[in-house]
Symmetry: C2
Subunit: 224 residues, 2 copies
Amino acid sequence: MSQPSAPRKTTGRPPRISREEVIEKARRIVTEEGVDRLTMRRLATEIGSTPMALYHHVRDKEELLVLLLDDHTARTLHRPELPDDPRERVVASAAAIHEVLAACPWIVEVLTADDLMSASALWFVEQMVDGLVECGLTPEQAVHGYRAIWYYTAGEITVRTAAARRRAGDDRATYRERVFADLDPGELPRLTQVADQWASLTAENTYLAGLRALVNGLLAPGTP
Amino acid sequence: MSQPSAPRKTTGRPPRISREEVIEKARRIVTEEGVDRLTMRRLATEIGSTPMALYHHVRDKEELLVLLLDDHTARTLHRPELPDDPRERVVASAAAIHEVLAACPWIVEVLTADDLMSASALWFVEQMVDGLVECGLTPEQAVHGYRAIWYYTAGEITVRTAAARRRAGDDRATYRERVFADLDPGELPRLTQVADQWASLTAENTYLAGLRALVNGLLAPGTP
DNA sequence: ACCTGAACACCGTTCAAGT
DNA sequence: ACCTGAACACCGTTCAAGT
């Protein structure tokens, strides 16, 4: 996405700040204080400039966030040794992307902005589609399979992030408890049965187990 | 969630506006103009009141959005005839929730705010957990299975909504095309192979197919 | 070409006062 | 108890001018 800094024209006023500096300072604000604190004004003062100077280096705030996601994935998404078994390759690729995104949950606001995330992740998408094809799916089925995996992964990050944010917040965390305390055992027997364990069960990280189930289901012959 | 209007005290100034009116007007703004246009100030003028009057009926804007979600599900999520087969019951329950949420995509911002959505949906959660148990899962496994389904469903809505928003926006839609035009066939052969079909493949609604795969995978004996 | 200052058109929420 | 007015502490972005 970020084009390799174009051959600089020698005419005109020399730039005081660079796109790289903008991204770097933005990254620091986001990691140290949270994405809510990243405003164009705050970023400008951090850089020692004015809000409008930023608009010469990024189109608008949304582009800045996309650049930030790109920066983060390029920085942390390294290609791992993938298993030979194609099914395991699919699982490992999805898990690698998940890990990188889970490590910077602020990205949720941006990742929802595009259906394939940053270009740095394309190699992993390739591995997933290829693994699914090697397991016997058609290329079309494999693309649909990849998308199902992406839905699942994006959803897990989104919901997990929201849950964490809620826990950080004041008392809205008690909403679930109130609901579960008022269950009608006659109408909702299963939920009543698991009510006590709900909190601990949903605190568990089950991303990988669910991912395996999904991949297995995608590869199994359909149950019509 | 919305407690059945408490027995009104007869002391004090009679209310000019009600919580119901606040929610109703908010719903109209959101459905007619989009969730971005719902601001406390705009809502107040719509009601013919002041911003601060709203704060006597809702705690803050976030609570208003949650109430709006509650209102929407109560209004549109009707209990359907569910299949007898437990596996199909799980699929049908998830699909029912998905349908209601997909019909009002603005809800995404709120649904990420809680891991179990509105109380009106509890009956469907019960059906899913119960169906999974009837298929042979333990109650604990069934809760985890429900959560996987919820991740998948929430992710599908989120990504689909983002894609639609992007399409509505100016030119950011071309980002994907640019990426796919620049693919290196040597490094990313599968993606190169499907590049032409990507747009049409991802435009297809594959929620149900992916859901079936996930449910099948959750119910199949694990592949260790 | 790059940056600045001032302004536009907004936000959510708090506080003190009125009825 | 309910509502109002004014204010606080912000936003992203545009426009016209400066170097």
